[in-house]
Subunit: 307 residues, 2 copies
């Protein structure tokens, strides 16, 4: 069976959207990634760090979804990373109200021996040097997928360039792609990012879908038009988790198969936003994913005879 190793934050999130607000709930990139990737029948391990305040029930929930949590470090006396944010009315933008790095500030992931042979490595959004440290510890992964954000472009440019150079696939949102390349056109931005290292560039456009670039090929996966987006938190991590999980399950890194992977990324992300936090992903079934795939086909597939 194929193995996926994902590194990322685990957090308490407090979220406000136009539809309501939450107390501290499970958040961070790693749980979203794990819950998405584990849908593909592969071995999924997440490497992360939490404080002593982190409830055992969250870990046990992840284990029940077939996620290996043995590499989640629990720091004695430490407090778990906390983030709170408020979404604007259109849900396309948000303000961070508070960030307490806590144990994440000293996170120095140690990959257990039995996880070093993972086929696919997904580096969730973290300090680029932390991401590089993970790459150094791995044996010879078939695919390294990187997620990052504008914060690292602003503060750790050189280190970010180093990790980008070592990855096969980067997932990044449209504004970040523009910031990274100073190109407004996403086609030009993707070309420049590929020159930095990754063979594949996935540009996420939120409610406007995602673009996959490779050589001269472009593929587009729309977001599913929904009556209501309830909470966008974790949609990008879910996308990356499903994308990487599908690649690990199929063992096929061709462009044709990457197309399917972005469709699955978009598929699972469309569930994620239907409820607060990880709630929807915790109960998601394979049958629901299958039905939604049919919706994606109906949404995008057409038959025009060439004359």
């Amino acid at each position: 069976m194929s193995k996926l190793l994902a590194v990322g934050s685990t957090a308490f999130d407090a979220i406000e959207t136009p539809f309501g607000k939450t107390d501290k709930i499970l958040g961070g990139a790693a749980p979203y990634i794990g819950l998405a990737a584990s849908q593909f029948g592969i071995e999924v391990a997440i490497v992360s760090v939490v404080g002593e305040d982190f409830p055992e029930e969250y870990l046990s929930m992840l284990r029940k979804r077939n996620i290996d949590t043995s590499a989640i470090e629990i720091v004695k006396g430490g407090k778990t990373f906390f983030w709170s944010g408020r979404y604007h009315n259109d849900l396309n933008s948000r303000d961070t109200l508070e960030t307490q790095l806590n144990v994440l500030g000293d996170f120095n992931p140690v990959i257990p021996e039995h996880h070093k042979d993972a086929d696919v490595v997904l580096l969730g959004n973290l300090h680029p040097l932390t991401q590089l440290g993970v790459i150094e510890q791995m044996a010879s992964p078939k695919l390294i997928v990187l997620d990052t954000m504008n914060f690292w472009m602003d503060h750790t440019w050189d280190e970010l360039m180093q990790v980008i150079a070592r990855t096969d696939v980067i997932t990044i949102n449209d504004e970040e792609a523009r910031q990274l390349t100073r190109e407004y056109s996403l086609v030009k931005a993707a070309q420049k990012i590929r020159e930095m290292g990754p063979r594949y560039v996935v540009i996420k456009k939120g409610e406007h879908g995602a673009l996959l670039f490779h050589d001269d090929n472009i593929f587009f996966a729309p977001a599913l038009p929904l009556e209501e987006v309830f909470d966008p938190t974790g949609a990008g991590d879910t996308f990356a988790g499903a994308f990487s999980g599908y690649i690990a399950a199929t063992g096929d890194t061709s462009f044709e198969n990457m197309k399917n992977a972005v469709i699955y990324g978009s598929n699972l992300a469309s569930f994620c936003v239907e409820k607060f936090g990880t709630e929807r992903m915790q109960k998601l079934s394979k049958e629901e994913i299958r039905k939604r795939l049919l919706q994606f086909k109906a949404l995008t597939q057409f038959e025009i005879e060439l004359t």
Copy 2:
């Protein structure tokens, strides 16, 4: 052979984009619509109005593209509608610098007898009472397609509701759909618009593509990702013209065929934005459209086996 009748403005445009600026060039909805629709081998007539200052060479260019211009009224001593605008750096928004309605202010289209039997009627963006007046003159078109904009929502709400109630298909952009329905979700907005009359709702999202809604079905046509968008003027009219031209050519108003029509709308619009004004559309060949259709297929079509 099928007949399409299109009513819309004909203008002089003066356009500024980050890439340059033009003197007065050919503009208005009608030329864009005509140039797009005439690609589909049907009889296309445009009903419009110009002043005595309108160059004969523009009319002759349209006729050479197999567009019937006999219903373009030339007002003696009148001046042609003039619009000038400046696009912002992202090309997604623009400021109108000047509008001179001139002969368009008194436009009262009279449909020639031999055009009253058109199969498809496309009502370009005009005063809703002008659009209603055209519907009244037609015999029994198979399909009435309406384009409109926020200006009429602000100033002639009741009249706009009357014309919307009489149409089969409405094309409208995302912000306008939200304004028309006070719904942020485009899925909900489309439902409300269908309750106003049209069986089909096309919501145009510019560089983010277009959504087609009918009953419980949704189809999505992406915009082609381009290295450079040069001038977005007329892209919406070109979309509507190609959409309507394809429907007229096929004589098929089923949802399956409407899907193809929005793909062709997006296809031809992707050419329109490559040059200033109508320049690209004047020289567009069937072979170029065919090749771009292959690009749209590559961009959107995928093969996932359901398990």
